[in-house]
Subunit: 154 residues, 2 copies
DNA sequence: ATAACTGCAAACAATTTGCATCCTT
DNA sequence: AAGGATGCAAATTGTTTGCAGTTAT
């Protein structure tokens, strides 16, 4: 578990500069409730709400940089844009997502079993494990119920 | 395990039409080696190679339709476009991918353990399970070695 | 001082859509 | 015949990039 300050140092160590923009963006990710993930646009909206004048291009550049350094985790949902969240621990167990194919809502969970299985699968394949991302797709309780209602109505 | 013909019927059952374009695209997915996945562009290239005159717009529309019917599985790698592959069995165990963060190559694997864990996680969350997609990220053997060489050279 | 970083606007790539025409059902 | 499907081109959306000016080191 890294502190906000430690993350700035990750930048410096790799020869990148610590700029107000990058600090601001890190602050925002740190202020997020655990497990919350942002798209570039979400981030931009938050920045605007705080009357920060960081350009969208810089947001994109920063997200990409921080992801490449392992500070952020880059998530692909089935949507057309990427999401980012803090990689709370380094190469440790991360939370995963379960997604409703009907309404698109996501929930989080962690599974030690899946994590362990992933590490050993990577091992068997000769890979040095970095991260595992599991998406479970299904129909959530609400959508199952509304489907039942529809059927009853017909 | 569905036959090509059964899949056409899936279309008809839902009130969609069976057109030559859709049949052609299904044929292509059926002719693919198990586990191979195509982007819309890949598909278009294959079609062109067979001198089919299906428009790119139709390819996109068809891929989306077939995915929504559960005939195709829609995969998000870290690239900027989606990939599709046949969903060989319905809601059954599917193969997963392990991806090199360095060079981007992917390998496939199946894990009954991960599959079973996913089904019960969905269950606990009140979801009706549809599919589970696990991506494991890491550094492949080759990339680990070239990194060692670099270090030795410096 | 100098190389990295930023903002802006223009450029791109992947995907979607409006509309006239065509073809399953 | 009637409505879904297609092809084309134009439009959108998400993201990247060139460049001139700015700033952290």
């Amino acid at each position: 578990m890294q502190t906000r300050e430690a993350l700035s140092l990750v930048l410096r160590d790799k020869g990148f500069r610590i700029t107000p923009q990058r600090e601001k963006i890190l602050d925002i990710f740190f202020s997020l409730p655990e497990g919350e993930h942002l798209s570039a646009e979400d981030l931009q909206n938050i920045l605007n709400g705080q009357s920060s004048d960081i350009s969208l291009a810089t947001s994109y550049r920063t997200l990409k940089l921080l992801a490449s350094l392992g500070v952020l985790r880059e998530l692909d949902f089935t949507e057309d844009h990427k999401h980012y969240e803090l990689a709370r621990s380094d190469a440790g167990i991360q939370h995963q997502h379960i997604i409703c194919v009907e309404c698109g809502t996501t929930q989080e969970f962690t599974s030690l079993e899946v994590f362990n299985a992933s590490v050993s699968i990577a091992d068997e394949a000769g890979f040095e494990f970095t991260d595992a991302q599991l998406k479970i797709f299904g129909r959530c309780q609400q959508c199952q119920q509304s489907k039942l209602k529809e059927a009853a109505a017909s």
